[in-house]
C-alpha cells in the first residue's frame, strides 16, 4: 500500500469537546448513583430447636465421579440444605462439572445428585471458550434468589481463573444462563472464589475472593442487587494469602481468616480485622491457628463466639477440627477433632492397610452405607500413589441454618463429600467438655 494521504479529521475541535461533555456528563451521573458503603449484617440465630444434643454424619455424594472436591452449602426456603461441589475424573479435567444435591432434614437423607453447571453449558452461556471449572460457593441474595459462584478457567492453570455466576429463583431447580464477573484488569485472570458470601445491611452482597496470579492475596467483592460488581477491596497483598473467610461480629466489626500460602514457618492461619465495616482493614498477621495451607470455613454464633472448621496441623490435611474463639479470633480452643489419621502422617500406608482403615472410616461416617468397601476403593483410587496411601479431609464449608442447626461439609479423601449436622446443644456440651482442652 502506498503512503496514506493526509488525515480525515484535521478539525473537529468542537466535536471533540461535545463528546467530552456528553461522556463525562453520563459518567458523573452514573458515579453519583453509586451505592454508599454498607454495614455488615451479622446473623443472630438463636439456640437449637430442641435441647437434646444432635450430631450426625453421612455422605452427600454417591460416588458418581472418581473425584469430588470443594463443597459449599446454602439453606433452602423449606429448611432443607442444598450442597454444591465440583466432580469429575480429576481436578482440572475437562469433564469436571458442578454437582448439587439436597438434604431433607426430616428424613435426614441427601437426594437428587445432579450436575448444575458444565464446561460446555457455561461456554455456551458466556459465549467464550472455557477450559475447566472449579470451586463453587452459593448464597441467598437479599431478593431471595440463590446466587451460585464458581471458578472458570479459559487459559492456563488456576492462575487463569475468573468467577462466573448463575442465579436461581426457585431454590436451585432451574438456573439462569451463567455470566462472568470481571474482577481484574489483566485479561480478567487470577480471581477465584471459596469463602462464604454474606449480605450487607443494604442488600448488597459481599463475596470473599482471592487473587492467584503472580501474587496471592485476599480480596472482597461487593455486588449490587443485580449481581453486578460495584466494588473490590484488597484484604491483603503480596504472595502468601488465599481464600479469605469473612466473619462479621457486628455491623462494624469483622474478622477475616485466610489460608497462609507462604513458605515462612510457622504455618498459621492469617487474620485481619476491621472496626469500621470494612473501610479499613488491619495488616495481616499470623493467628494462633496451625494450618497446612488449606481452606477453612466458619460462622459467628449469636453469643459472639467464632466457630471455625479447619485442618489444624501444619503438615497435612489428614486432621480436621472444629475450633472456637471468644475474642474475635485472637485465642482459640478445640471443640472437637473430627478426623484424625496421625498414624499415617509422614508414613504412607500400604494399599491393603489403607483399604481396611478407609472402610472403617466410611462405615463410621455413614451407618446406612451398603458398600463401605466401595467407598474405601474409591478413596484409594484418589489417595494412593507410588509411595503409598494417605488421607485427606479438606475444604470444609460451615453454615448455621435458621433453626440453629449447623451443617458442615468437606472433601473426604477426594472421592466423596461428607456431611456433619449438629446443634447448639451438642456444641455447648462439647465446649463444656473441652473447657480445659488444648488452647491454640
Amino acid at each position: 500500500m502506498t503512503e496514506p494521504a493526509g488525515p480525515v479529521f484535521t478539525r473537529g475541535r468542537t466535536l471533540v469537546l461535545v463528546i467530552l461533555l456528553v461522556g463525562f456528563g453520563a459518567g458523573f451521573v452514573k458515579s453519583f448513583e453509586r451505592a454508599p458503603a454498607g454495614f455488615f449484617q451479622p446473623r443472630s440465630i438463636g439456640g437449637a430447636v430442641d435441647a437434646k444434643p444432635r450430631f450426625e454424619t453421612r455422605f452427600v455424594s454417591g460416588g458418581e465421579t472418581p473425584q469430588t472436591h470443594a463443597p459449599s452449602l446454602v439453606e433452602l426456603n423449606d429448611g432443607g440444605v442444598r450442597a454444591f461441589w465440583f466432580a469429575g475424573s480429576r481436578e482440572g479435567a475437562k469433564d469436571v462439572e458442578i454437582h448439587t444435591a439436597v438434604f431433607h432434614p426430616a428424613r435426614a437423607v441427601w437426594r437428587g445428585e445432579s450436575p448444575v453447571a458444565s464446561r460446555a453449558g457455561t461456554q455456551r452461556s458466556l459465549l467464550r471458550y472455557i477450559r475447566k471449572l472449579g470451586n463453587p460457593v452459593a448464597v441467598r441474595a437479599a431478593n431471595g434468589q440463590i446466587r451460585l459462584f464458581y471458578v472458570t478457567v479459559s487459559l492456563g492453570g488456576w492462575g487463569g481463573s475468573s468467577v462466573t455466576m448463575t442465579t436461581s429463583a426457585d431454590d436451585g431447580k432451574t438456573w439462569t444462563p451463567a455470566r462472568r464477573l470481571i474482577t481484574t484488569p489483566f485479561f480478567n485472570l487470577g480471581t477465584l472464589v471459596k469463602g462464604t458470601p454474606f449480605l450487607y445491611d443494604d442488600g448488597t452482597l459481599g463475596v470473599p475472593v482471592y487473587h492467584e496470579m503472580i501474587g496471592k492475596f485476599g480480596e472482597l467483592l461487593r455486588l449490587d442487587k443485580t449481581g453486578a460488581v460495584i466494588d473490590k477491596q484488597r484484604l491483603s497483598s503480596g504472595n502468601d494469602s488465599l481464600q479469605p473467610v469473612v466473619l462479621a461480629q457486628s455491623d462494624r466489626n469483622a474478622t477475616v481468616l485466610m489460608r497462609y500460602a507462604g513458605k515462612q514457618p510457622p504455618k498459621r492461619v492469617l487474620r485481619v480485622s476491621t472496626d469500621d465495616a470494612g473501610q479499613h482493614w488491619s495488616h495481616p498477621e499470623k493467628s494462633a491457628l496451625s494450618n497446612p495451607g488449606a481452606a477453612l470455613s466458619g460462622v459467628v454464633l449469636a453469643d459472639g463466639r467464632v466457630l471455625v472448621a479447619l485442618n489444624d496441623v501444619e503438615g497435612n490435611r489428614d486432621q480436621l477440627s472444629l475450633v472456637a474463639s471468644r475474642d474475635g479470633g485472637v485465642t482459640w480452643k478445640t471443640v472437637i477433632t473430627l478426623e484424625n489419621q496421625p498414624g499415617v502422617r509422614g508414613h504412607p500406608l500400604d494399599r491393603a492397610r489403607y483399604l481396611e482403615t478407609a472402610e472403617a472410616l466410611a462405615r463410621d461416617s455413614d451407618a446406612t452405607l451398603s458398600d463401605p468397601a466401595g467407598h474405601a476403593r474409591a478413596a484409594a483410587a484418589q489417595m494412593c500413589r507410588g509411595a503409598g496411601c494417605g488421607f485427606e479431609f479438606s475444604y470444609p464449608y460451615l453454615i448455621q441454618a435458621r433453626n440453629g442447626e449447623f451443617h458442615l461439609v468437606y472433601t473426604w479423601n477426594r472421592s466423596f463429600i461428607k456431611h456433619l449436622r449438629f446443634n447448639q446443644a451438642w456444641l455447648d456440651q462439647r465446649s463444656g467438655e473441652t473447657g480445659n482442652d488444648q488452647r491454640h
Binding site: M1, T2, P4, A5, G6, P7, V8, F9, T10, G12, R13, V16, L17, I19, L20, V22, G23, F24, A26, G27, F28, V29, K30, S31, F32, R34, A120, Q123, R124, L126, L127, R128, Y129, I130, S154, L155, R179, R180, I182, T184, P185, F186, F187, N188, G190, H211, M213, I214, G215, K216, F217, A228, V229, I230, D231, K232, Q233, R234, S237, G238
Partner: protein, 203 residues
C-alpha cells in the same frame, strides 16, 4: 437471548482478528476494494460458529473484551488500508501510545498486587478518579491531543452505558493488548530515535 455486552465483546474480538489481516505483506499489496472484501469475508468467518463456538468467542475467552482505546486504535489502523487516507494525524497516535504505555507500566503492577494500593478499585465509580480523568481529557483537548480526549470521553460514556461486560471504568480505558502494543511501539520509537538521532516515532 444474547446480551448486548456479548454482542459488543464479540464485535471487538472480530475487529481485532480481522484488523490483523492487512498487516500480511501479500494482502497489503492488494487493491483497497479487495482488502475490504477480504476483511468482510474474514469477519463473517470468525463470527460464524465453527464447532461449539465462533472463532471470535475463543479469542474473547483468551483476551476478554477490548477497551474503547483498543477499538478506536484498531479502526484508525484499518482505515488507511480501506480508504487510502489516515483518520487522524500521526502525532495524535504517538501521543496516545505514550500515555497508554506510561499508564500501563504504573497501573498493571499495582493492580496485580504490588503493594496494598489497588488502582483498579478506583474504576468502580470513584468521583475523584472521574474528576482526574476529566482534568486529563480537558488538558489534552487544550493541548490539541484530540485522540486522547476522544478515547477517554468515549470510554467514560461506554462505561456509563454498560457497553461491555465489565463494570470497571479501567477496562474501558485500557486493556493488556493495547498496553503491550503501546509499550512496544514507544520502545521501538525510542530505539529508532537513538539509532538515527532524532528519527520519527511510528505511533
Amino acid at each position: 437471548m444474547i446480551n448486548v455486552t456479548d454482542l459488543t465483546g464479540l464485535a471487538g474480538a472480530t475487529l481485532a482478528l480481522t484488523a490483523s489481516l492487512p498487516l500480511a505483506p501479500p494482502i497489503r499489496r492488494l487493491k483497497r476494494i479487495h482488502i475490504g472484501m477480504l476483511m468482510g469475508a474474514a469477519a463473517i468467518v470468525v463470527s460464524a460458529p465453527i464447532g461449539p463456538l465462533p472463532l471470535a468467542a475463543y479469542a474473547r475467552g483468551w483476551f476478554g473484551d477490548l477497551s474503547v482505546t483498543t477499538n478506536v486504535l484498531l479502526v484508525i489502523g484499518i482505515f488507511p488500508h480501506l480508504s487510502g487516507r489516515r483518520l487522524v494525524d500521526r502525532g495524535q497516535e504517538t501521543a496516545i501510545c505514550r500515555l497508554v504505555a506510561v499508564t500501563a507500566l504504573v497501573f498493571y503492577p499495582l493492580a496485580l498486587g504490588l503493594g496494598p494500593f489497588d488502582p483498579y478499585r478506583l474504576g468502580y465509580g470513584s468521583p475523584w478518579f472521574l474528576t482526574g480523568l476529566l482534568t486529563l481529557a480537558l488538558g489534552a483537548w487544550i493541548g490539541r491531543f484530540h485522540l486522547i480526549t476522544t478515547c477517554i470521553a468515549l470510554a467514560v460514556l461506554a462505561h456509563a452505558m454498560a457497553w461491555n461486560e465489565s463494570t470497571n471504568l479501567w477496562d474501558y480505558l485500557l486493556d493488556p493488548l493495547v498496553s503491550i502494543y503501546a509499550i512496544f511501539v514507544v520502545l521501538s520509537g525510542v530505539v529508532r530515535a537513538v539509532a538515527r538521532s532524532g528519527g520519527r516515532d511510528a505511533c
